[in-house]
Symmetry: C2
DNA sequence: CGTACCGTTGAGGTGAGTCAAAGTAAGTGG
DNA sequence: CCACTTACTTTGACTCACCTCAACGGTACG
């Protein structure tokens, strides 16, 4: 079910090195950090459950989604390799605000409370690194690009593509950008807070416009500049 | 223009006490923390400027708003007394993501970088307190209640009222709740990402329904329970 | 060859945006 | 104290993007 992960694979290990933890100590504490593998659809943690540690993504994509009081499912964030999840609830000492589900095959390393406490007590600068991560979290600002009611759906989809491109965009020899969307249309709909039908229609329009070509989960952008420009024209007139 | 604020007034002073800073040391560092007074409409800091410290609100309400690439103004958060602002950009080492404007007369104490660094170097647990504040920041979760495209405008306004009630709600002898909204309709519109006309119409409807009574900036809620119940009926059917 | 599930398409309804104009409130200066 | 300005708020008529519901089309898998 779980193996002890090889040392040096996690984001938090890099943190440890930054604050001067010796390599042999990293090896030692890693014995207490189980690494799990997840299949697409598996749950890493559930909304409302109590956090028992922090999770480092070593491989794969994870969707964080929140169910509001009315039952709407809102996709908060796609977490990618080398990112950490669950830290907000952990440090906030609150139940998880979202459910984490594997979109692809995933490898995730869990840092339990004991290890985190131990590292902090030996190296008081440890927490500061998380302070920075939390402060730089792209979740809230990305939310403004994806769930902004002012932005028409086509724009929200383009913003989603630009976010995915940051990490997984591939440029070929002709300058075309290829992006793989590791989720269902339904999940994309949740991420931008619209219905799946609306996503389908918006994608058809984008395809017809030629700016972006969707083939299943694969997307090709012929001309990034043109795409960025198009954003200005598709937008509503700003307030004021 | 600025005076040195009396000791013990700021949120950060309480943090200092929690980590064992002596009273006389608090008095000492406060000499380097200017306290400013702002009139309604004054700017505390501007989006894109570099943070030079952390701000503690001692009195008054402050609106944080973000202008996106297209020029839309999005109200992110109403900051209230005893809250701190500017800390996300400060610890993220990034320019301010929002502009902070005084909605009412405000008193704000500024902790410059030198003081913060000094406190952290003498008391390594200092940063952990901010870690908790950042992790518990209501901004992102409140955003889901205020700017969720699924929620009809009337609901978003009700959610705004419930958020204001947390801090400034007054209950009278008859069990009616009174809330003062310390901002223009236009700002309310920005906070829930709709146009001011739409806010006006939604408020008229709420008045007619009798659940909530708006008189200028003052709001009276006759029956909290009824109001909470009404949320369920006004919502769109959830996805799935 | 069904069965499931995801994805797409169509017809019809509606909530919020747009634009323009009128209404209100809060100064400001004579 | 009253015209005048200025900025905020409300109202009305119209438009349109997205939602709803329902049906149909793929594709994977037993």
């Amino acid at each position: 079910m779980h193996k002890v992960c090889a040392h040096g694979e996690c984001m938090i290990d890099q943190f440890a090195r930054q604050i001067g933890v010796a390599e042999e100590d990293i090896v030692r504490y890693k014995r207490h950090c189980p690494t799990h593998s997840y299949e697409p659809g598996d749950t890493i943690f559930k909304q409302k459950s109590s956090p028992s540690g922090i999770y480092c993504i070593q491989a794969g994509y994870i969707l964080l989604w929140h169910t509001d009081e009315l039952g709407n499912q809102i996709g908060l964030r796609i977490a990618m390799p080398d990112e950490i999840i669950g830290h907000r609830s952990y440090f906030g000492e609150e139940p998880h605000a979202a459910t984490a589900v594997a979109l692809t095959k995933c490898t995730v390393c869990q840092f339990p409370r004991t290890v985190i406490n131990d590292l902090q007590s030996r190296h008081p600068g440890f927490y500061s690194l998380f302070l920075r991560v939390l402060a730089q979290d792209r979740g809230p600002p990305d939310g403004l690009l994806l769930r902004n009611p002012y932005l028409p759906v086509k724009l929200r989809i383009i913003n989603m593509l630009l976010i995915l491109k940051r990490v997984s965009g591939q440029e070929d020899s002709k300058g075309h950008v290829h992006i793989h969307m590791p989720f269902y249309r339904r999940d994309l709909a949740r991420l931008i807070s619209v219905r799946p039908e609306t996503v389908a229609r918006a994608i058809q329009e984008l395809n017809r416009s030629g700016l972006v070509v969707f083939k299943g989960r694969n997307v090709t952008i012929a001309d990034m500049e043109k795409l960025r420009d198009s954003i200005k024209f598709q937008a509503l007139k700003p307030v004021e």
